[in-house]
Amino acid sequence: MDDLIARISHCIEFGKIDRASPYPPDMKGEDGADELTREALDAGIAPDRLLNEAFVPGMERVGRKFSERRIFVPQMLMSAKAMDAAMRHLKPYFQSGAVRRKGTFVIGTVAGDLHDIGKNLVAMMVEGSGWEVVDLGVDVAPSRFVEAVRAHPECRAVGLSAMLTTTMTGMAAVVEALRAEVPGCRVLVGGAPVNEEFRAMIGADFTSRDPQGAVAYLESIAA
């Protein structure tokens, strides 16, 4: 059983999606996260154990390697695809309530900004750490963030992304709207021009240069 969990975690870390996937080359022809997760569930391994002992640690290692620049965006995306393939098997358990997520995280790129790669990476890493992610996409008006939080009572945090100096100023309006309408909700901000000084100025709760920082912060508020 433990071996199966370790193999799933390994598949997620190295982006082995399924048997048909040729990546990584040294695992060609082997079962991937998809088949192994099915096998684990059929063998009676509890879905919450798979989430917490295989998926989350696998993605944690991915996030750490990305932070340390030992892997880059493509490898991270392959890992996210492997995690998706595994996570699909757990969807029925999430829906039935047999497995609970840590909370809901709403994320979007602020109004006037069309950049989404950084936002997508954060969304994948947060989902892989056991959160439900509601991705609002790009060019999102402040009111849509507020509406999304209200529509998801388990939402504990919102992530705002911006790539440009001119659009990051729009984060202030979102923070203000969220503080006024949903005061308990934490706000994370990120993107190329965002720094700690700017975060403090607009009154957001957290900023990080990499997705793993966001995951660690969410972990701290989930505890």
Binding site: F72, V73, L77, K81, D113, D116, T165, T166
Partner: protein, 241 residues
Amino acid sequence: MTTVETWNGRTILGYAFDLADLALEPGHLERVMRHDPAEPAGPFSELAREVLDEAAARCRIRGALTIEEGPVFDDGARTLSIGGDTFDVHRIVHGQIRKAKRIAFFVCTAGPIGEWARELAAAGDSLRAYVADVAGTEIVEFAVDRMHHDLGRRMAEEGLHVTNRFSPGYCNWSVAEQPMLFRRFPEGSCGIRLSPSCLMRPTKSVSGIIGIGARVKLAPYLCTVCSDEMCVYRDKRLLEA
């Protein structure tokens, strides 16, 4: 292919490229994505090749460039005034172009490659979407490289040099000044339009300026004087002639 037209009393050079003209190789995309092409072939080599093949059919690479005489630089405010407009170009850009006697304004687009990348992402293929996004960025940069090189060649015939190119949105130059740059060109030039927040659509488009003069030069690297560690151009040569 280069065309010359006159619009509003100014001369505009028009450029049109096929993807094949740009000699953009899959290996280059892999290096940009930080995958070493010498490593065992994963999905990246094949994906880069597939994406470039499809991009060739989807892209519409167009550029335009116009030159204005007589820029005035304010060394205190670090601004560039020309043609009745004042650009707040900030320290880095000002320092590189302040000896210019002419300014070239340019716009260029790869066409709807960024939009295609977004379609792929919406369909759930995040990896291919990322590769398409990188391809769009590199296509438009390679095209502007060609325009930059062509400008350098033309100016060299007059004994003049060109600077690096600089774009609103980088080196602290605000994108809010895009409308001043875009009014140098006919509305919708190259198929590019500005959003209310001054972003270009198609998204894989570039605009900017290049200084021209006898006492200006290309600087191989400028990243050491800029604090933006996440800039997409960081540690890349700004112009590979």
